[in-house]
């Protein structure tokens, strides 16, 4: 199964290993541009850990990691908001993580690991 790319044993890091003390789930609204184009551009932003696309509102939900509030502010107000087509951002800061596992991924076309 490992050779077929069905599963993979790999090092997984706790958020604090990267000094990611702040996690936010961020709704991103899009106007005047294709959602997939906006999502692809957002994917290049370091600090965005995941991007999911939806049919409906919001069209994009991102998981954002920051070392502190200043970094979160810059990510939201400068990096994410600067992407053409982003017309609204709603930030839900997670104040306590109860559980976070990463059991599944898309191994064939995503080897994102910093």
């Amino acid at each position: 199964m490992e050779q077929a790319g069905v599963m993979r044993v790999m090092a997984q890091l706790d958020f604090k290993a990267l000094d990611f003390n702040i996690l936010a789930i961020v709704d991103i609204r899009v106007t005047d541009r294709s959602i997939s184009e906006v999502a692809a551009e957002l994917a290049a932003i370091e600090g965005i850990g995941s991007i999911s696309v939806f049919l409906g509102d919001p069209p994009i939900i991102a998981q954002v990691h920051a070392r502190d509030l200043e970094e979160l502010r810059d990510l939201i107000l400068e990096s994410i908001s600067a992407v053409e087509g982003v017309s609204g951002v709603e930030t839900n800061v997670i104040v306590k993580i109860g559980k976070w596992q990463s059991l599944y991924g898309r191994l064939s076309h995503n080897t994102e690991s910093k």
Binding site: R8, M10, Q12, L13, W100, N110, E112, S113
Partner: protein, 150 residues
């Protein structure tokens, strides 16, 4: 505890292949096997890193999952979040403040499974006032190398 360059280099090797032997990692990085062993013990005991198994969602035919965002009675939020964390299909749950009280992510094979989770495991919980379920139709980025080690 902060990670130095060697810690990060070891982690990078083990992200490429978690089955690499200490000997192999030591050879690649030109340090002793004992150093690798010692660094790994330190990273694992500090709960900064662990070796995990990641399965391919597409190969398993996994629907992917759904975001479940809840409004709750504020005083019940923590208890409800703990209950959700106890469900095997729940891979993420966090307390938040603002529009929602709890945001969670559930893995599911099928939509029927999503309905069952929402209808039998979440709706009946005392203190749940509103449930907002969002099913992704695409994943553009996903860092499955990040976890929370309790």
């Amino acid at each position: 505890m902060t990670l130095d360059e060697l810690d990060l280099a070891i982690i990078r090797e083990l992200q490429k292949n978690g089955r690499s032997s200490n000997r192999r990692v030591a050879d690649v990085l030109s340090v002793s096997e004992g150093t690798i062993r010692q660094r790994l013990a330190k990273l694992e005991s500090a709960k900064l890193m662990r070796l995990g198994v990641v399965s391919d969602a597409d190969a398993l035919g996994l629907l992917g999952g759904v975001y479940v965002r809840l409004s709750t009675l504020p005083r019940r939020a923590k208890e409800i979040a703990d209950t959700l964390a106890g469900y095997e299909s729940c891979v993420f749950v966090g307390l938040t403040v603002g529009r929602y009280d709890i945001i969670a992510f559930f893995n599911a094979l099928t939509r029927e499974e999503v309905i069952e989770i929402v209808d039998t495991k979440i709706t009946p919980l005392s203190g749940v006032l509103g449930i907002d379920v969002r099913e992704p139709v695409g994943y553009v980025k996903h860092r499955f190398d990040l976890i929370h080690i309790p």
